[in-house]
């Protein structure tokens, strides 16, 4: 029978030289001391020749580089063709953007590796030690502080305000101006919301609450507030911004930290099967941040009159000059990029080290590797920010504005006939950018790697990432069509929210959690830096906000269906 199955290997047999060697010749002789006990053997360091070092590093670097490269390059090329063709940008600007995209790729490579080796394991160690060493109230307060701190340090915010700024300072609605002018307040409110989310998620692990019930309960508040705000003539403008804030709030560093914390806490605390995954923090944080921003917006609108709104913070305005004047801009981009990277990574990493070693008295193994990861994250984020600042982020906003004015010349009725080409171009651009940015999103890479290892390989990283990117692309198309038609409105946001909220009840619990967390993770610096300005450029502040939520919703739905397709295989894929 075996002969039947035999197949030609198709290999050139002569090309491989084989020989045999007894393993006995390679293994060390063990020695015994006088009492006959084995003396522990210390393996000598392996000295590699230069060729082997090269091959080792080549293997290490090449696929880590190629992964983001294969995604970022096409997106950049599409953007540069659009820039060349529609914006008539000078060549140096486009070359600057393309060279920036190489920095983005290298930055992404280092950032993902750094998060994986430094931030995620630090979070996991800390999360695992907290419940063992501290009573519940102390643990929850520490988690709360971590939530507030990481949100306030996060870098994604910067892109949102600065990029939006570059596009249109004149058309910002007053309420949004109130909020954007008080980013410190928004940060603090969101930080407290995120801290609360960490506490709630931890309580969920402990009590084994079901995720579906919890997310439904948590979402009632922002949904109710949204409807209320919509009734108010003032509040309408704040809704889109609030939902964007929810999507933006967790940057890649925070995501990696929370995934680690969740996994650590859950393995120490959890009683149920599904809660052992340690997921759900991110989705809960989303809704609480939306609620917090809405409350803050309403309060501000009620107490501050629009005339009081002063000039914008100078640091925000400075970012606008970046693309226009490279000679003064590049240094600024680099400095602020490095600074925001340092702020995003080092305080939280330092705090986690401090808590682990000095407060909890844990003996941390492999400190060198953790430090390596932290340093790599910082450098990676700095390079990434620099690369984005060299034109990529700017291009999105200006293209959005260009298409907005091109399409606005025709009424909506004529749109399909006269501007069919432009309309198609916009959709193509948004689809490409949404899919590309999702695929390369550093937070998502860390997230899917975590899911893959939690599910013991049942939920494949690549498949998960692809389905999310596909969903985000579809969501982006729908959202942009909405913006172009009439701006994003409650009747678009609310049903979408309700549908994805109730959809999880038709799906297995673990996939509900994965899809919700994943959907929130995709809106990291890459997506926000590219898509958000496009949306703002297309619709202006009041009509363009809210686009990010469409991408998130699309990704959630796509992931749910991926889970449904795999359900047969994954129903028993819990950690135990």
């Amino acid at each position: 029978m075996s002969r039947e199955n035999r197949s030609g290997s198709g290999l050139d047999e002569e090309s491989v030289v084989t020989r045999h060697l007894s393993y006995n010749l390679l293994t060390p002789r063990i020695r015994r001391d006088l009492k006959g006990r084995i003396v522990p053997h210390v393996a000598s360091a392996v000295k590699l020749n230069l060729r082997d070092v090269f091959r080792l590093l080549k293997n290490y670097v090449s696929h880590r580089f190629m992964e983001p490269f294969k995604i970022v390059l096409p997106v950049t090329l599409v953007l540069s063709v659009f820039q060349w063709n529609f914006l008539k940008d000078p060549l140096w600007l486009i070359v600057g953007m393309i060279s920036g995209s190489f920095l983005v790729v290298i930055g992404l490579m280092m950032l993902v590796e750094g998060l994986r080796l430094g931030i995620f394991p630090l979070g996991e160690l800390l999360g695992n030690a907290l419940p063992r060493k501290l009573p519940m109230p102390a643990m929850l307060s520490i988690l709360f502080i971590l939530g507030v701190g990481s949100t306030c340090c996060d870098a994604t915010w910067g892109w949102m305000e600065r990029v939006g700024d570059a596009v249109d300072r004149g058309t910002i609605p007053d309420v949004q101006l109130l909020l954007l002018g008080r980013m410190g307040w928004v940060l603090l409110a969101s930080g407290m919301a995120v801290g609360l989310a960490l506490v709630l998620a931890t309580l969920r692990f402990f009590h084994g609450w079901r995720f579906k019930i919890m997310i439904l309960a948590v979402s009632l508040l922002p949904l109710g507030l949204t409807v209320m705000a919509w009734m108010d003539p003032w509040g309408k403008d704040v809704v889109g911004l609030a939902w964007d804030c929810g999507a933006v709030v967790l940057g890649p560093v925070t995501v990696a930290m929370f995934l680690g914390l969740g996994r650590g806490v859950a393995t120490a605390l959890s009683r149920g099967n599904e809660t052992a995954w340690g997921l759900g923090m991110i989705a809960v944080a989303f809704f609480l941040v939306v609620a917090a921003t809405l409350v803050l917006g309403t309060l501000l609108a009620a107490t501050v009159s629009p005339e009081v709104v002063g000039p914008r913070l100078p640091i925000l305005a400075e970012g606008t000059t970046v693309a226009a004047d490279p000679s003064s801009g590049w240094m600024f981009v680099y400095r602020s990029a490095a600074l925001s990277a340092v702020v995003a990574v080092l305080p939280m990493a330092g705090l986690m080290f401090f808590l682990l070693v000095l407060v909890l008295g844990e003996r941390v193994q492999g400190v060198g590797l953790l430090l390596h990861g932290v340093v790599l994250s910082t450098l990676g984020l700095a390079l990434f920010n620099t690369g984005m600042g060299l034109g990529l982020a700017d291009a999105g906003g200006r293209l959005g504005q260009f298409f907005a004015s091109a399409l606005a010349r025709n009424g909506m009725i004529d749109l399909w006939f006269d501007s069919g080409f432009m309309f198609g171009m916009v959709l193509f651009l948004v689809g490409t950018v949404a899919i590309g940015a999702t695929l390369a999103e550093p937070g998502l890479t860390v997230f899917t790697a975590n899911i893959e290892s939690l599910s013991h390989g049942v939920a494949r990283k690549r498949k998960l990432t692809r389905s999310m990117a596909f969903g985000a692309g579809i969501g982006g198309l729908v959202g942009v069509a909405g913006i172009l038609a009439n701006g994003i409105h409650l009747w678009m946001l609310a049903p979408l929210g309700l549908v994805i909220l109730f959809a999880i009840f038709g799906f297995p619990e673990d996939w509900g959690t994965i899809s919700w967390d994943g959907g929130m993770v995709i809106s990291g610096p890459l997506l926000v830096g590219l898509i958000h300005p496009l949306g703002i450029g297309l619709g202006g502040r009041s009509h363009g906000s809210g686009l990010l939520f469409f991408l998130t919703a699309g990704a959630i739905v796509a992931t749910l269906f991926t889970g449904r397709l795999q359900h047969g295989a994954s129903s028993g894929s819990g950690i135990s």
Partner: protein
Amino acid sequence: MTTGRRTITFLTEVKLITCIVQRGLGDIIVKAARDAGAQGATVFFAKGSGVRERLGLLGVAVEVEKEIVNIVVSSDQMEGVFESVYLAGQLDTPGMGFMYVTPLEKAATYIPKEVVDKLGQ
């Protein structure tokens, strides 16, 4: 073979090729094995140590988390599959992995009835 009685056809001359590679590289191994005629593969996740700990700083370039690929092959296939897996996985590079062959006494699975009838006399 009367109806109602179930048969087990034991396969003999079966070998198990096991290949341990870094996380994320298992698909390459599975593809190489299938291209060389292997009919299936099972992958599971593990953590492992080896040359990584002895490489010093360069150890950073080797992933602690591994994938273990189990491939059952016929004894005639074994050399060919082994070779193509070794080459595809670049196991001649430090830290890339380890593989070995285990003889299996017997194996059984679903075999199409026509195949058994034709060959099994």
